[in-house]
Amino acid sequence: MKQAVILAAGEGQRLRPFTATKPKVMLTIADKPILGYVIESLAKNGIRKIVLVVGYRKEQVFDYFGSGEQLGVEITYITQERQLGTAHALAQAKSAVEAEFLALPGDNLIEAATIARFANLKPNAVLVKRVDNPIRYGVVNIEKGTVKGIVEKPRETSNNVINTGIYALTREIFDFIEPELDIPDVLNKMLAQGRIIRASETDGTWLDIVYPWDILNLNDRVLRQITASLGGTIEAGVAVKGTVVVGKDTVIRSNSYIAGPVVIGSGCDIGPNVCIQSATSIGDNVVIAPFTQIKNSVIGDDVNLGPGCVIQDSVIDKGVVIQGNFTAFSSQTEVKVDDEYHQVTVGAMLGEGCRLSHGVVAHPGAIIGNYCQIQAMKQISGRLPDRSLVI
């Protein structure tokens, strides 16, 4: 297989606030969007012809990936004007695909090994995986290595083999798409008409991202794989332990303590006396003032953290400005998303461009929308809509 169609048009509603201004595939983990990891895994398997189906906020995908040259791939962009479904997205790419191709989502984290064997299979085939919570996914019924049917989000099932959304296909699928909108429905139709679809199981990394705190799981997983490299300026008296990446033009000032795995982007100004613990990702152009401690968190580009902050198990999106003494402590808590309650251990989730004055305390599980403004000494909890004002 030499070509892959990556579906990168989706918005990711349940991930709000983080997807209000960017497509789901551009969520950044360890200073790189998820889609970047997907393309790298394909390139490592010799798949260098990439068709990207883009839609929601597509300019951010264009701007980051360009022609694909940086990653050593050749990208063709196809726009899906309205995000109607995966099969609809694939149909848009009809003019750009060859006889055989892979189709896969751009917002699930995969490693090169996950698809190494699959990439050489003859179509049609589906990559499947065993998971603990199959009812969130499409469950695949398999007999002697071939697919018998795919059941989307079953109420209950004893089968824990699910569809990863990674397919090896031929152009024949285009004859079956209309009027279906999602690929599993199309495959079921193909099965009904006697086509054979094989199932190939992987035990490699395949991580889905559905809720905001999933960003932390992905971050943790990615950071375990990094190779240390120290760019920029690291002043005397900085302790660097474990695997740490520091980008160019970043300055880390005296008496800071960095315990990897940690990734710090380029152009940052950190310290003196800042403590960054595992597993933390920090974007580009981030300023962190003295006596701030960050642990197991993801900090976006252009963030400015004032002195004396404590940030645990939290996600702070790009452009957030915090004047100082912000506390986002972690604890087990119940978080409501789309009327469902989830038991999770998290700190706070802050959308982009928020401005927090001094001494704000965020309760565990607080989800703060984009561009909120919070005045000094406030406690915040629960869910704040975008552009809220807390006074």
């Binding site: 201004t21 300019e59 990936f65 580009d284 252009d302």
Partner: protein, 594 residues
Amino acid sequence: MCGIVGYIGDKQAQPVLLDCLSLLEYRGYDSCGIAVSSRSIEVYKDAIRVAALKKAAPKLSGKIGIGHTRWATHGAPSQLNAHPHLDCTGRIAVVHNGIINNYQQLREQLIGEGHSFTSETDTEVIPHLIEKHYQGDIIKAVEAALAEIDGSYAIIVMVAGEPRLVAARKDSPMVIGIGDREKFIASDVPAILNFTNRVIYLEDGDIGVITADSVKVKQHQAEVTRTENKISWTIEDAQKSGYEHFMLKEIHEQPRVIRDTLAGWMSAPEPILDLEAVRDNGAEAMLMLACGTSYHAALVGKYIVQELLKIPVRAELASEFNYYGQALAGTMAIVLTQSGETADTLRAMKRLKEAGCRVVAITNVVGSTASRIADQTIYTRAGPEISVAATKSFIAQLMALYWIMLSYAKIDASRLSSLTAELRQLPSKVQEVLDNQDRIAECAKYLAGFKDVFFMGRGINYPVALEGALKLKEISYLHAEGYAAGELKHGPFALLGSKTPVVAIVAQDNTHEPIVTSIKEIKARHSPVLAVVPEGDDSVEELADSVIVVPQVEPLFSPVVNTVALQLLAYYTALQRGCPIDFPRNLAKSVTVE
């Protein structure tokens, strides 16, 4: 980034190479060159653009050749540093895209072995290494040479008298185009798409041996098959990486340009410019000169300097200054030119130097003429700008002015630190403007229905009104005029009416009240008003016909977000009117005539 090409076949190589090179100029254009081989190798190269090389080059005869267009990394753009590079014998020619990390060490070693170098480039070690290993088999020599290199490369090697080219890549792109009895090699597919749509992609570590009739590819000395692909898309699609126009691509690059530009400067231990050194005799005045969009940056610069350095500034059009302007010896002068080749600006620089002034150039092109004349040069890191309408280079110029002046600001420490922190926020703020493009496109649809448009601003946003009007007229062909808000009543009011919309830039500084008053006066003349307003300011909500909200920033930085909003407004107006956005009629990217 650089671009490379190669040709072998039954045509004369020179015109093919030049055609391909002109399509690679988006990868860099500070110098270029070609080499053509028959029995011996003839090279023509210079620090000029491909179009100029086309005119200047003598006819080189031969059906095998290589070419290169350069964006300087190691060594300034000059004739000597331009590719192709030769070995000592002049029989091996190489073009290269990439960076060789261990070139210093290889160079010293080769010099020790008696090789002589003519350029400052990292590339030149390659032909000499090949020469060193050459014992009749060019492929073995290239393999041995590459084994010594640490870095990234796409190279094409040509040997005098040999009817083949050798190509190799690692971490830099390369494709081979297949024709009947001819083959093409290039950094990317668009460069050769005028000749063939059948291509082979080389993989990292591949070495290709290309003759007019065959392509053989080896990886780790074993022959491998690389399949042929048919290309179905067009040249322009590829270079614009998904965007409909270069202008939109460049507008969207701006958050990154700001971030990259500031990162390099902010982390540097020294200020990027030694302003004291250009302040002879403690001169307490400054002169800024530029043309076109750069002149608008100079006008914004005037306000920045006055606010931060508290010294008087003159900002002048270089084209006017050349005919009457006086420069006092010892005046600090800053000139701004994206290309570094603007003829009027260059002439003004020479006059300033003659008058005994110290001149600082702010330019986007490394080694351009402006940088050679100037006493000090600041490079904006905007990357190649293709669209004739300047966007990202303007924003990068503003960043240079902000950062220089903040380094020497005579303001209290707390304001300085809050300004510096705010400056770092600009990439996100500009992204916020871009995220609002659907709303701006709606306003543009409305604007596209008129024939004449006024732009008005005040204070530091007066130049932004000029820039907004310039963008609109150059790409959408609408008649547009930028005015200082206070000046509308001195004449232009006579033109106002329901068919002349006014784009008003509302800032949250001491100009806020007079601007609101101006809007009221304009509304009294029934002109539609489109207001660009910072978030949270609802003072004109009732007055204006429509509003574009931009993020709130420190007023000193408001030109950045306001200009980006007006760039998008001009872009979508032109799109609505079906204009050829990237290449407007009668205009050229860099004006090298006076």
